[in-house]
Symmetry: C2
Subunit: 297 residues, 2 copies
């Protein structure tokens, strides 16, 4: 192994059950030494990330199917939409009226949830700084060759067969509405109708907080489940004013913990997100008490 | 934003619903520009990775509980252990004998599946090359302050209440057996008994392929489900002789796809693994047809 190979590479030989029958990686160019490299190659190129997509969407489909009898029953029906936190710190889930219950829906994010932006991240991971005009061109080009997250196409089809409407809420620019509609359709995710089943950034309300759009959807639909790759796709309350580890504790806390996999379905995205804005340091991610180095013996 | 901030950081502002109320990251030292940085900070410090842990373990618990009636019934019972591929490319799942069915089990990996190696990865992500002696010292130190993957403790407790035995199969060195036993117990994951409910590297058979150990466990137990962070934790067939994208296609293919989330439960680990050994390049991860750059207009 060449000098300077990150510790983790070799650690994998011990921990990872290294399979050595794989041919040497094709090296069209030297690997970019970018902090996003492993996150990028794993997210777009690993079997494991594909498995996580299939797993999340399988869980979504089974959960939604399992909730339909209750939807059609007489008892109050709790949606997956959290509207606040009560005095005891518990998330309050909106109840669905009879009118809403006639229009069940699942709310999904788009980027790295429904669609994979492999092409743009291949470019970005070579060290190209973000450029708004370039990203808009990606959205245009993507429309002709979109890639769905593994599991998404089958799940969307299953939802429709169950009479449940997929509704996309994304912070992609609404200057590329048509391209986004075409990308979703081209990827096999069906026909999205702007301001009915597709809500982009600044739709309904200005800015990137998704709660106004979720509340808008909830006026007409019973939101049975939600799917995303960042906590902001589910609630704006977990990130509210917290540093990253506090968000992590909040997400794992008793109040929210039961929602993960039971109404809220997460896809993996270690490449970008609010968790990394501003860029997280190792000190952000690993609390003091867990930081380690080998002690002199 | 400072020059040279990776494109993805700024992309997150658009895509990620950026919350700006978070205080600036503490910078005890300049962020390490290592290819593992984002993967590391996300895996150990993000709410999203915690949510994925809770989601996987919630799914595991519900799946196992749902399978128990069939386990106690009369019909043949398919385990989660795949023993081969048939002529049509379908995974063959071992059937459980009556004797095995009296001893239901779940097989789990340890590193980044049951336990988080936050401390060692904090160290590694600063650019320290792998050192076997240092890693052994981590295993020793970890025993005193182990960190479970979110969701694992509750799931292990639930399995035991259901009468299902957790069995750990790990490629950690069996020179640190006692330390590993203490780490599992200290993390709240219960008491592991070497060569009964704990199988380390080179146990049963030399090397890192886990199938001999899985087959050994299956002589005494009905393996209802499996949990891991790499495909080798589930089957040795997906990685067999393939480059990374071929493994990804195999894992997502019709034959294996139904297993993810339905017997096979994946935890996210973009930090290390066989998928990154040797280190994956962007060309490995993104097939030619998806590679993109903004075209001159």
């Amino acid at each position: 192994m060449t000098p300077g190979v990150p510790a983790l590479l070799a650690a994998a030989l011990v921990l990872g059950g290294c399979v050595t029958t794989r041919p040497a990686a094709v090296t069209a160019a030297a690997p970019a030494q970018q902090p996003s490299l492993y996150a990028t190659t794993w997210t777009y190129g690993s079997a494991e990330a594909a498995a996580l997509g299939l797993q999340a969407y399988s869980a979504l489909t089974n959960y939604v199917a399992g909730r339909l009898p209750a939807l059609q029953g007489a008892a109050p029906f709790e949606s997956a939409l959290v509207t606040g936190i009560d005095g005891a710190g518990r998330p309050q889930r909106a109840l669905c009226t009879a009118a809403m219950r006639a229009h069940p829906a699942v709310v999904l994010d788009i980027d790295e949830t429904g669609l994979l932006n492999s092409g743009a991240q291949y470019y970005a991971a070579q060290g190209h700084p973000y450029d708004e005009a370039e990203w808009a061109r990606w959205l245009d080009d993507r429309a002709a060759q979109p890639t769905p997250v593994p599991g998404a196409v089958a799940a969307i089809a299953a939802l429709r067969r169950l009479g449940v409407t997929p509704i996309w809420i994304s912070n992609a620019t609404n200057s590329r509405r048509d391209a986004t509609v075409r990308a979703l359709a081209g990827a096999g995710l069906g026909d999205a109708v702007p301001l009915e089943t597709l809500f982009l950034r600044d739709d309904i309300a200005p800015g990137s907080d998704k709660q106004p759009r979720r509340l808008n959807v909830a006026e007409r639909h019973c939101i049975i489940a939600m799917v995303g790759d960042q906590v902001g796709d589910f609630t704006s309350l977990i990130d509210a004013g917290k540093p990253p580890l506090a968000s992590r504790r909040a997400a794992a806390a008793g109040a929210y913990a039961p929602l993960w996999g039971q109404g809220w379905f997460m896809l993996p995205n270690p490449v970008y997100g609010a968790w990394n804005t501003p860029e997280a340091t190792l000190e952000d991610a690993v609390p003091q008490s867990l930081r380690w180095h080998p002690k002199p013996q």
